[in-house]
């Protein structure tokens, strides 16, 4: 299963490295979102800096939708999805591999976003380890839900509108917990983040488990 996951993750990441769609479209999209938040909340850094944790995670959530859509767009071309089904790979492995690839892409994006909130909003990054741990765990949770709903929505005619509607309410706890954990770390009280980190771990494990079990039958239906 893990070998299959590594294969699928490697394939997805190689496609992204070569096609650079994520780099050319998702990263600029995230940057645009950051700038728009700045415009919406005004130039006052006294407002922007405290809000930067929340804005960072909202930007990540919105970009995650694009990353998931991209991840399934590459399967829809040239009947790649049928190829995936015929490949004999373990469906759970395919799920974990796609989730891992989305996690990796989003983590790169979050690095850029973190630089963005420092430069644009004047946030002071503190408690680096907690910030990093939050990013990793929260992103795994986002990727797990995204991969699961991505396969539900892919192949449907209204997938572009359906995916955000399904995805965003489910990941509301991730937004909440990750924002609180970041706020605690930025405020110099990283111990307050630990409870929220636990919540993120529970969320990620739960949806990874559901995805591992359910992915096979969802992939067959497409």
């Amino acid at each position: 299963m893990l070998r299959d996951a590594a294969l699928v993750a490697g394939k997805d990441l190689r496609i992204e490295l070569r096609s650079k769609v994520a780099l050319n479209q998702v990263v600029p999209f995230a940057a645009a979102v950051l700038i728009l938040f700045g415009l919406a909340l005004g130039p006052d850094r006294k407002i922007l800096a405290p809000a930067s944790a929340g804005l960072f995670w909202v930007a990540t959530l919105l970009s995650a939708i694009l990353a998931v859509q991209r991840s399934y767009a590459i399967e829809s071309a040239d009947a790649a999805r049928d190829g995936l089904r015929l490949s004999g790979l373990d469906p759970a492995g395919i799920f974990l591999g796609k989730a891992a690839a989305i996690t990796a892409e989003l983590l790169v994006l979050e690095t850029g976003l973190a630089v963005g909130v420092v430069l644009l909003y004047g946030a002071h990054l503190a408690g680096g380890l907690v910030l990093l741990a939050t990013c990793v765990v929260a992103t795994i949770g986002l990727a797990a839900v995204g991969t699961l709903y991505g396969v539900v929505a892919s192949g449907l005619r209204s997938r572009e509108t359906l995916l955000p509607l399904l995805f965003l309410p489910i990941v509301a706890p991730v937004l909440l917990a990750a924002t609180k954990a970041w706020k605690a770390a930025l405020a110099g009280t990283p111990t307050h983040a630990l409870g929220w980190l636990d919540l993120l771990v529970v969320f990620a494990v739960l949806y990874l488990a559901i995805g591992t079990v359910a992915y096979g039958s969802l992939l067959e239906d497409g």
């Binding site: 539900v152 005619r157 399904l166 706890p173 919540l199």
Partner: protein
Amino acid sequence: MSSPTTVLQPTGAGIGPPQIDRPSPVIRAVGAAAIVGTAVTVWLGLWVTPPDEFMGEQVRLLYMHPPVAWISFLAFGVAACSSALYLWPRTRSRRFDRLAGASAEVGVVFTGLTLASGSIWGRATWGQWWTWDPLLTTTALLFVLYLGYLALRRVPGEFDACARRSAIAALVAFVDVPIVYFSVTWWRSLHQAPSVLNPTTGKTYVHGSMLWTMLLGFVSLTLAYVWLLGHRYRLARFQEIEDSEGLEVALAERRAEAVIA
């Protein structure tokens, strides 16, 4: 209920409206009981019970708002259970898919009513339409979660595939509910002490005729839920029959016309 094949048939030479069976007596009895119960609740709630010592006339929302909220949680619980039963190979049956869809749809209506009545109550007692109270926030997220589920159900496709992805989506959404509630509660408790204006504290003052009226509200609205569920389930069954047999009926009608001509 009669078997699906006898429900929708071409009548006579295939011309004229199809015959549709009537709802079962149980459903009609439940409906009648729900109407009577709700009417009595309204009468007791608006005229018989006294105004509350602290909340005044606003307490009358107590007979309606908690029962409505209870139905939305019950409906989503039923939807999750029937989805699980559909996914379990031994109990897989189209019945559970219909039941899940019907229950979720009724649940969304009641969640909307919960939010509306809660907002009105909040405006009257707290002075604002909305507060980021854990229960309110969870209910609002639940509302959009299940709107997404219903949107997914409405996407056309092969029956088994639709039913399976809907069932999985229902369970994925249901698993999220405790996490949402827990995180939102925690989020608020870190910000401020539990509010004394929490609507549940109103229950401390419930006694006598008020208690009975509220209990009757719970019973009547539960009956109303069962009634609506029964009708929505029936409708779902007719839609399935229409999908599978509608074309044949239409073809038979056209052929009959051709023969006459």
